[in-house]
């Protein structure tokens, strides 16, 4: 009886372990394989708009033309760099704003805490598009901000905020701030406050105790929050499209244009793959570094 039940347990355990792998296989690895396959094809005017992987004789017909084009045309390199810089700037602003907020929430009393958390999550109840449109209303030439500044007499004529990199930067930081706050809150809330007190008791000033204790212990949350902001910000399409100007070209926009405007699927796929490599390589390196760090100090 027990042998039977343990066997059944084993089956369930295998299913439980297999499920996430299956998920990754179906929704990540398979699409990735398809994208990779398309990126190695040539564009044609047909349906689908790319050459098949195997030619008439059943030989593999792969070409790296799209990647070659990507590497030779400077526009792409510049756009990638611009995207990295923009996403990094938004991530840093999110961290600078999010850390004190998360810290404040984690240290507030239990009743206030749930209210504050609700306020952080509340914007999600309104459509993302609407919220970005609201920023347009704020940052327009005759929007709330310009009108207010003119009323104050700080400026005579409206300053251009909309359709600039700055508008994209603000939009990105605003949209992704909760993704920074929540993981930070989760780590800070778990931290024993007496650790900070112990540091102060042993002679550390408040600032010193923060850098010696709070910051290193909050690191996992900082890393999680930064990745959660940086990765989607890198590929963001809607915010630059709505708030950015025509010259503030980011990689998400390029990707969209190659797919839908130029109908160059192989090139668009190549853009996507290079973006993925740009994101995955630093994350893998970071993880390896962390693992080694842990081994060294253990």
């Amino acid at each position: 009886m027990s042998a039977v039940s343990s066997k059944r347990d084993q089956v369930w355990r295998n299913i439980a372990v297999a499920t996430p792998y299956l998920w990754l296989l179906v929704f990540f690895l398979a699409p990735f394989a398809i994208i990779l396959k398309i990126s190695l094809a040539d564009p044609v005017i047909a349906q689908p708009p790319f050459t098949p992987t195997f030619d008439d004789q059943g030989r593999i017909a792969a070409s790296v033309d799209s990647f070659r084009f990507l590497l030779t045309d400077k526009l792409y390199a510049i756009t990638y760099v611009r995207s990295v810089v923009m996403a990094a700037a938004a991530t840093i602003l999110c961290l600078a704003l999010g850390f004190p907020m998360a810290y404040g929430i984690a240290r507030s009393s239990a009743s206030v805490r749930s209210l504050l958390l609700l306020l952080i999550v509340l914007p999600f109840w309104i459509s993302f598009l609407l919220r970005v449109y609201a920023w347009m209303g704020l940052m327009n030439n005759y929007g709330v901000i310009n009108n207010f500044l003119m009323w104050l007499g700080v400026i005579d004529s409206p300053i251009q905020i909309m359709y600039t990199d700055f508008a994209v930067f603000v939009g990105l930081a605003y949209s992704y701030l909760p993704f920074m706050i929540l993981p930070l809150y989760a780590t800070l809330e778990r931290m024993d406050i007496s650790l900070v007190e112990a540091a102060q008791d042993l002679g550390a000033s408040r600032t010193r105790a923060f850098w010696d204790v709070t910051w290193p212990l909050a690191k996992p949350g900082v890393i999680a929050g930064c990745l959660l902001v940086f990765i989607p910000a890198m590929g963001e399409y809607v915010i630059p499209y709505l708030l950015g100007g025509p010259e503030s070209l980011l990689i998400g926009r390029v990707l969209f244009d190659e797919f839908f405007v130029n109908r160059d699927w192989p090139l668009a796929s190549a853009v996507a793959i290079v973006l993925l490599i740009l994101l995955v390589v630093p994350i893998v390196l970071l993880q390896r570094y962390q693992a080694r760090d842990q081994e060294n100090t253990a």
């Binding site: 024993d192 007496s194 650790l195 007190e197 112990a198 540091a199 102060q200 008791d201 042993l202 002679g203 550390a204 000033s205 010193r208 010696d212 204790v213 290193p216 212990l217 100090t297 253990a298």
Partner: protein, 363 residues
């Protein structure tokens, strides 16, 4: 120096709640002083005010002649061992212990030397490079102790130092703590809810209740001469008899207890008047239990029946029901080695005690 630590008129309010209510206390240099009380009595708040994590709402605190009432924790000559031990999880044992010296800017070689010295003191030499999560509860406690002692503070504060340890380890650690205190001569202030711990560790104890001090004294004074019902009840077990004073002679007071319909005698110099309502209190181990009526007619003697008994190895506990229905707790040493019981359930017995063993309580 009798007033090494001097607490004067200190109160602490959290909103409307009075955590510590106008207390005065003096602690001598080198004392091992315990603050004893139940949860919420204000003992931890008092300790945190000594450490500098709370500022008194009124009153002042002096340590070694310096007013520290408004000093920040990192400026005080005081270190604390936290109840949770608060060991930095991202540092190994040696860097945890050396942290205080690093903040002081002590030279590296000197830090290494003093860390080794501390590791030896708390017998953790082999664990120098371990991470805290690879330590047992007892080892963590010793890391916390070493870390708090390395700066050679004038006062070491210990918040429930032994609460997280199991019973055997607690007993051993108790003596280690006392030895270390004796060796270093540092003044220890311990907060605890465990009366046994306070009794064995301390040179003096203060019993706290609702933010106020009920009694300050040596463990013996507190146990044998409690000043009121709260202290008598809080420390150990005690049988109390309510009654009215009938006779007051020099050092001898007679109290009539309606409850048991008998007159009890107590010795003492308390100022009482005939007719005053008082309580006579007797500790279980001060009461003798016997099958025959004891000869000595100076002793207080009452007849009863064994209601319940418990064998604890070194001693036995009896619950004796008096004729009035009142149940009295008696504890007696098991001096003789025997498998048969000296008393059985429902045995008729006499309980007796010497008048000087009883305490007269006024409230």
């Amino acid at each position: 120096m009798k007033d090494f630590i001097r607490i004067q008129g200190v109160s602490k309010l959290f909103g409307d709640f009075v955590a510590v209510d106008n207390v005065d206390l003096e602690i001598a240099r080198g004392e091992l002083f315990s603050i004893l009380g139940g949860s919420g009595c204000g003992k931890t708040t008092l300790l945190r005010m000594l450490a500098g994590f709370e500022v008194p709402s009124s009153g002042s605190i002096q340590i070694d002649g310096v007013d520290v009432t408004h000093q920040a924790p990192y400026d005080r000559p005081v270190n604390m061992m936290f109840q949770s031990y608060a060991i930095f999880p991202h540092m190994n044992v040696a860097s945890n212990i050396g942290y205080g010296l690093r903040r002081e800017g002590v030279a590296k070689g000197e830090i290494a030397r003093r860390v080794d010295e501390m590791l030896e003191l708390v017998q953790l030499g082999d664990f120098k490079n371990r991470k805290p999560d690879a330590l047992s509860g007892g080892q963590r406690q010793r890391v916390a102790l070493a870390r708090a002692l390395i700066k050679r503070p004038k006062v070491l504060l210990l918040d429930e130092p032994l609460a997280a340890l199991d019973k055997k380890l607690r007993e051993r650690t108790q003596f280690e703590l006392m030895n270390i205190q004796d060796e270093l001569g540092i003044t220890f202030v311990v907060v605890t809810h465990d009366q046994e711990e306070a009794m064995t560790l301390s040179s003096r104890i203060v019993v706290m209740n609702q933010g106020r001090f009920e009694q300050v004294g040596t463990p013996k004074e507190i146990y044998e001469f409690p000043v009121n019902r709260f202290v008598a009840d809080f420390i150990g077990t005690i049988n109390t008899f309510e009654g009215v004073v009938t006779v007051v002679e020099e050092e001898r007071i007679e109290v009539y207890c309606e409850q048991i319909g008998d007159t009890l005698t107590a010795l003492g110099r308390q100022l009482v008047e005939v007719g005053q309502a008082v309580q006579i209190a007797v500790r279980p181990e001060k009461i003798f239990v016997s099958k025959e009526r004891p000869e000595n007619d100076k002793d207080v003697c009452i007849e009863g029946v064994v209601d319940d008994l418990g064998y604890l190895g070194n001693r036995s506990l009896y619950r004796v029901r008096l004729k009035s229905g009142r149940v009295i707790q008696v504890s007696s040493q098991n001096r003789r080695r025997s498998v048969t019981r000296f008393l059985e359930w429902e045995d008729d017995v006499w309980i007796s005690w010497r008048p000087r063993s009883a305490v007269l309580l006024l409230d």
